[in-house]
């Protein structure tokens, strides 16, 4: 949500920026240049505070749609787990629990770094912020690598969805269903992680260019919310798939 640079329109519509959201404290760190225009909201907003609220609300509303995405899939999972409890339990034991535990810790740490990145930009410590973002990015990458390894192992064993299922040691009825749901739901989650990594990369570039400051870091907050959400989804998926007794 980049605000537009000021133009004649601003004066003509008489919407003077209110005291809130004016250019932030003078930058003493590095050579970050705060463009006064960055603090001015787009014309549809009465002040920068409103614009920031709008950005935040937009992300929250979007996340509620994501919740519904996963909720529907988890509903399907619940139905089939109820139908095939023994098969699901056997499949769950078959998965590599320790790898998944490490993945969970990894994502949680990555979320922590994301939060730290926002903390540091508020303190105007741009370099530390970039560092934290990079670590968050690496956390996501590590998750994808580990998860890819899990998928590869399953594929070689034949624990695949539906008609590709080949693994003999797990119950023939119920296991293909488990793996169909497992691959689709965790795959969808992995796509979200990849998208999140892309967004974090974008933030790093923008930060290096000096676009964010303590006065304006809305996109970081938005991506931060998204990243925490992706983490939360995994916290739900982990016990559902890996911790069945």
């Amino acid at each position: 949500m980049r605000p537009k640079s000021p133009s004649n329109n601003r004066r003509r519509f008489g919407a003077a920026p209110s005291s809130a959201g004016a250019a932030g404290p003078a930058d003493s760190d590095c050579s970050t240049r705060i463009d006064p225009a960055e603090a001015l909201p787009q014309i549809q907003f009465q002040d920068a505070v409103r614009q920031r609220h709008a950005a935040s609300l937009a992300v929250w509303v979007f996340l509620s749609t994501e919740v519904m995405f996963f909720a529907g899939l988890i509903a399907a999972y619940v139905v089939y787990r109820y139908d095939y409890p023994a098969a699901f339990s056997a499949c769950s034991h078959h998965l590599e629990r320790w790898v998944a535990t490490f993945e969970t810790a990894d994502l949680l740490t990555s979320s922590l770094f994301m939060a730290l990145a926002i903390h540091f930009i508020q303190k105007n410590a741009r370099r530390l912020s970039v560092l934290c973002l990079a670590l968050a990015f690496l956390g996501g990458a590590a998750f994808l690598v580990l998860h890819g390894h899990e998928y590869a192992t399953d594929a070689m064993e034949g624990a695949l969805p539906g008609r590709f299922y080949r693994l003999a040691e797990l119950p023939a009825v119920g296991a293909p269903m488990f793996f169909a749901l497992y691959f689709f739901i965790t795959g969808l989650h992995a796509i979200h992680v990849a998208v999140g990594m892309g967004l974090i990369g974008y933030l790093v570039v923008q930060l290096l260019r000096g676009r964010y400051s303590p006065a304006y870091f809305n996109p970081m907050e938005g991506v931060g919310l998204y990243w925490h959400f992706v983490d939360m989804v995994w916290v739900f998926l982990y016990p559902l798939f890996y911790l069945i007794h």
Binding site: M1, N9, R12, F13, G14, A15, Q42, I43, Q44, F45, Q46, R50, Q51, H53, A54, L57, A58, V61, F62, S64, T65, E66, M68, F69, A71, G72, L73, A75, A76, V79, Y80, D83, Y84, P161, G162, R163, F164, V173, G174, P176, M177, A180, L181, F184, L188
Partner: protein, 549 residues
């Protein structure tokens, strides 16, 4: 007149007319890359007009085929594809987008006293995603088209040899457009309201859009993953809905209807918002009970999520489930009843002006009474055992959903035509179009109630001879309906090019959107408004301004 303290109801007459949003910039790029919500609304208007005509052509072909019990103009497979495409086009390519994307986009900032929506670039993106989705769906249609019905029931949809995946993908993409629109509107309503515009001063149309947006963002994702699961099963044989692999085909129905039942409210709530907005203006008095309309809107939005199982009364659900869904269905119906009583009451002690818009609004109410009460009848469970999947249901949902949405769309188009284009249309021809459309609609679908009573199943290419004469009657009605729509189309196109210049507020309506010029300048208001009155009160005009007019 101090602009800071009064809503500028009568902008000082400028010596030269300032450029409107239509003329301020020219050239295709200024339209295709615009951020202006009004131009985006017109982009959508063009698109949904196309999809409406497309869906209508499919319907006419179906009705022609049904003139005789066997082959009339096409084979069974073509017929099956056509009714599927009619459903998909009308539901996702027309009814769900139409009123929110055209009138929501155009009017929301105006009604909120703002210069644009909260997220203008997301707004433009939503249109592009919509167009891409339509293109993918059309590719699917041309490639042969699926024949599963717009409901895509498994296992037929996962085992059918026909082109299911492109159509599913197209609908999936359009779902994203819907979500973007919903997000945008919710954020807009929360954050760009003018000073003085607190919640209970919002116009009822805005409340309607707000309710719709909530349903859109919560329900559409479930449709998305359901269609994705069907694609996966069709493509990879995952077996999630296949009983041979341990799957449950009825699970698909639960997931599908969990979205599709709220979807019918996505289709009809904006229309209700239009009628709630238009009636006070045409009856020239405030709504009968403003809060009742607001609360019933949210009642529909929330309770509507609980009633999906009434599509599955005979699908093998438990009796307990049937009872619960029946109760939820009756609950949702009450909210519509509240609105109907309030709309009829709006005329009480009013000064009712009769024109095409009034005709559309009253027609909306009339169809909703029959559609709603037949819905209650279906919701009793016991009667549904006879009517389910017959023409009775087809008539019911056209009466409650298709007809009202279409009429409300046309009502909105006529009512805000002067605002959007600055032109007037022929009062006589618009009324002829409205009356013809309404009577054509009634004549098309009333025979279908009787067909359902007789037991004719829906989605049937061939039928027993005793059903024929009712089908002929229905097809005759459909031709009248088509004629009415054509009359309306020509009337409006004529008005667009040759209509007289419209006055700023031809209806003398109270809405905030009439406070700016018709058509508005690119950023809506010369001076950012401050709202000091309710949406259904006439502004207080100072003496000197009144004497000047």
């Amino acid at each position: 007149m101090n602009p800071a303290s009064l809503a500028p109801e009568h902008p000082p007459s400028a010596p030269a007319r300032a450029p409107s949003y239509l003329t301020a910039e020219t050239g295709p790029k200024s339209w295709l890359f615009t951020h202006d919500h009004k131009r985006i609304a017109l982009l959508y208007l063009g698109t949904v007009s196309f999809t409406l005509i497309l869906g209508g052509v499919f319907a006419l072909l179906l009705r022609l085929e049904l003139l005789t019990p066997e082959n009339t103009i096409m084979q069974a497979q073509t017929y099956d594809r056509l009714f599927t495409l009619h459903g998909v086009t009308m539901v996702w390519l027309f009814m769900i987008p139409s009123i929110p994307t055209v009138f929501g986009n155009f009017l929301l900032p105006l009604m909120l006293g703002a210069h644009d929506v909260a997220l203008p670039r997301l707004n433009l993106l939503s249109w592009y995603v919509f167009v891409v989705g339509i293109a993918v769906t059309l590719i699917g249609m041309i490639a042969g088209g699926t024949d599963t019905g717009w409901t895509f029931y498994t296992p037929y949809s996962t085992t059918s040899p026909h082109e299911v995946i492109p159509v599913l993908a197209g609908v999936f993409i359009i779902g994203f457009s819907t979500i973007m629109t919903g997000v945008n509107f919710i954020v807009t309503i929360h954050t760009v309201r003018a000073q003085g515009l607190h919640w209970m001063r919002l116009p009822l149309f805005v409340w309607g859009i707000y309710g719709v947006s909530i349903i859109q963002i919560l329900a559409t994702p479930v449709l998305g993953i359901t269609l994705a699961l069907v694609c996966l099963e069709s493509f990879l044989g995952t077996g999630i809905f296949d009983p041979l692999k341990g799957g449950d085909p009825v699970l698909f129905q639960h997931l599908f209807w969990f979205y599709s039942h709220p979807a019918v409210y996505i289709m009809v709530l904006p229309g209700m918002g239009v009628v709630s907005e238009v009636l006070p203006a045409l009856c020239r008095r405030p709504p009968f009970n403003y809060k009742a309309i607001v609360y019933s809107t949210f009642g529909i939005a929330f309770v509507g999520f609980l009633a999906w199982g009434h599509h599955m009364f005979v699908a093998g659900q438990s009796t307990a489930a049937n009872v619960m869904f029946g109760v939820a269905t009756m609950g949702v119906a009450i909210f519509t009843a509240i609105k109907i009583f309030n709309w009829v009451g709006n005329m009480y002690q009013g000064q009712v002006v009769f024109n095409a818009v009034t005709a559309y609004a009253l027609g909306f109410i009339f169809l909703m009474i029959f559609g709603g009460l037949t819905g209650v009848a279906l919701g009793t469970v016991g009667l549904d055992a006879h009517w389910h999947d017959t023409y009775f249901v087809v008539a019911h949902f056209h009466f409650i959903m298709a007809g009202p949405t279409l009429l409300a769309f046309l009502a909105a188009l006529h009512f805000w035509f002067p605002k959007m284009f600055g032109k007037t249309f022929s009062a006589r021809w618009s009324l002829i179009g409205a009356a013809t459309t309404f009577f054509g609609f009634f004549a098309t679908f009333t025979p279908q109630f009787l067909l359902g009573n007789m037991g004719m199943p829906r989605r049937s290419y061939a039928y027993l001879p005793r059903f024929q004469w009712l089908h002929v009657a229905s097809t005759m009605g459909a031709s009248i309906l088509a004629a009415g729509l054509l009359i309306t189309l020509f009337t409006l196109i004529h008005a667009l090019f040759f209509g007289e210049r419209a006055p700023e507020n031809p209806w003398d309506a109270t809405g905030y959107e009439w406070a700016c010029a018709s058509p508005p300048p690119p950023h809506n208001f010369e001076v950012t408004p401050v709202i000091t009155r309710g949406p259904y009160e006439w502004p207080v005009i100072p003496e000197e301004a009144r004497r000047a007019t």
